[in-house]
């Protein structure tokens, strides 16, 4: 087997006395749609925060394309090709939809203060590239029409899609989606699923955390189940659904979905 795109080995994160993630091992190969599921408080978002450098793992290693990224700054990790969305939407609220995506395209450019003030031809070309990429990303999520509206004036579902566009515009290798379907109605979810498949078809690896089981089972190729920070199992959706400990974990905590 070739080296996985993203590999977590023995990832452990503790907050004070609480162990949020406990010795998690995971391998995500290229061009996979991988889901991470588990009851509330299982530590799913914490895993994302560790991968993207917001939390520093207490123990363990995270490697991306064979490179150790444990404890690196988020902006460096982003530059390597890891993009994400957030469980509780974190848009640049007062900015326009287009500006949100253009900020996402930060990694495309190099222009600094000098470029901003003097605007040599190279910078102008760079701005054009950023604008084109932003337009494409908005097109993909179906928000190009609303590019001049303020981000916080969008509907909930639109905001989630905007976050995806913002993450996608930097042309990442892997896209981490934290509960992308939360708060969406069935039609929106349907559209979202298509969209994610489209993105995956472009060769972007997808890693998502999601509560909606139907959504996950229809979309993911591989599913990892987390409970109390521990991995219970990994497998195809069918395998996972029939796994006893998974059912137990869910029924023990909350209604099975």
């Amino acid at each position: 087997m070739s080296t996985p795109l993203l590999e977590l080995s023995g990832l452990t994160i503790r907050f004070g006395g609480l162990t949020a993630v406990d010795r998690l091992d995971m391998k995500i190969p290229v061009s996979n749609i991988r889901a991470l599921i588990g009851p509330n408080g299982a530590g799913k978002s914490t895993v994302f925060n560790a991968i993207t450098g917001i939390y520093r793992p207490t123990e363990g290693r995270i490697t991306f394309q064979g490179q150790d990224i444990t404890g690196k700054h988020p902006y460096r990790i982003s530059a390597l090709g890891i993009a994400r969305t957030f469980q509780n939407i974190r848009l640049y609220k007062t900015l326009s939809v287009l500006d949100n995506v253009r900020i996402g395209a930060h990694g495309i450019g190099r222009g600094g203060l000098f470029g901003a003030i003097v605007r040599p031809p190279g910078i102008k070309a760079e701005e054009r590239r950023i604008n084109e990429a932003s337009g494409d990303a908005l097109e993909l999520v179906g928000l190009l029409r609303k590019k001049d509206e303020r981000a916080d004036s969008l509907s909930y579902g639109e905001q989630r899609r905007l976050e995806i566009a913002r993450a996608l515009v930097s042309a990442p290798q892997i896209l981490l989606l934290d509960e992308p379907a939360a708060g969406m109605n069935p039609q929106e979810k349907e559209r979202l699923m298509l969209m994610i498949q489209q993105i995956a078809a472009r060769g972007v690896t997808i890693f998502l955390v999601e509560h909606d089981m139907k959504f996950v089972m229809d979309l993911a190729q591989q599913v990892t189940v987390l409970d109390h920070g521990r991995k219970i199992c990994t497998g195809t959706p069918d395998e996972v659904q029939s796994n006893l400990s998974v059912i137990e974990a869910y029924l023990g905590k909350e209604e099975a979905v």
Partner: protein
Amino acid sequence: MEELLRQYMNLYYIQVLTLICIMMIAALGLHLITGVTGQLSFGHAAFVGIGAYAAALSNIHWGLPFLICVLLGGLAAALAGVLVGFPSMRLTGDYLGIATLGFAEIVRVILMNMDITGGARGLAGIPRETTLVLAFVLAAVAIWTMYRIQDSRFGRALVAIREDDIAAECNGINGLWYKVSAFAIGSFFAGVAGGLYAHFLQYLNPSGFGFAKSFEILTFVVLGGLGSIPGTVLGTTILTLLPEVLRFSAEYRMMMYGLLMVIMMIFRPRGLLGGVDLLPLLKRMLYSLRKKQTPLNGDGNGRSV
């Protein structure tokens, strides 16, 4: 040019307008730090002070050309800005603001105790070089620069930090670098303003750069509309004029000034121009104007977006 102005304009107005232009440059610096990047600074006057003293001293002691002195003032302030920017790594929000306040007070006390600055006796004998024309041109350049910065990859990164620093980091933005940059650039503006101020007043005293001045500049920025360049311009203009306009009320002047600050804040909590986008407003005005003039020419107007 200045001579011409002096013939047609009351010297007092020239004096006040020059001051407005100078303060505008300083306020635009704070606009970048607090309005654009969202880093609270309660110590902006210290940077103005550092710039003022650096410029004045390089003029008095080295006899450098005036504009070089002003540039040096800006650079000295920028250096101090870098220094203050680093705590922004650990401190956020009000805590950063308080740290900058502390820094500014320390700067003031040091200026007060240094020999080269003349200490409490102040620094006199600075030649008068700042003219209204120059201050106006530099203020215009400052506004232009600010627009350019904000409409760029660099500026967007700053705004992103203000809006959501964690999301910004995840979008590949090095928060510390940009925050320190914002402090450096904003302080540079303050320093340039300080250099002009020194060569305008011809006398400097550390007590002029205390926290009261810092809050005054912060008020310019917030009252005009945080994050808005026209707001900063308007805020500076109104609040610099206000004490002059209120002169009729003699000793109640500052009382009314304080009261007006409260009232303006209550009726426009986001600042006078906060949330008002002048550009579309202006465009719409121009558009309707043009439409009236050329009613038959639909070219360019009918294009769908």
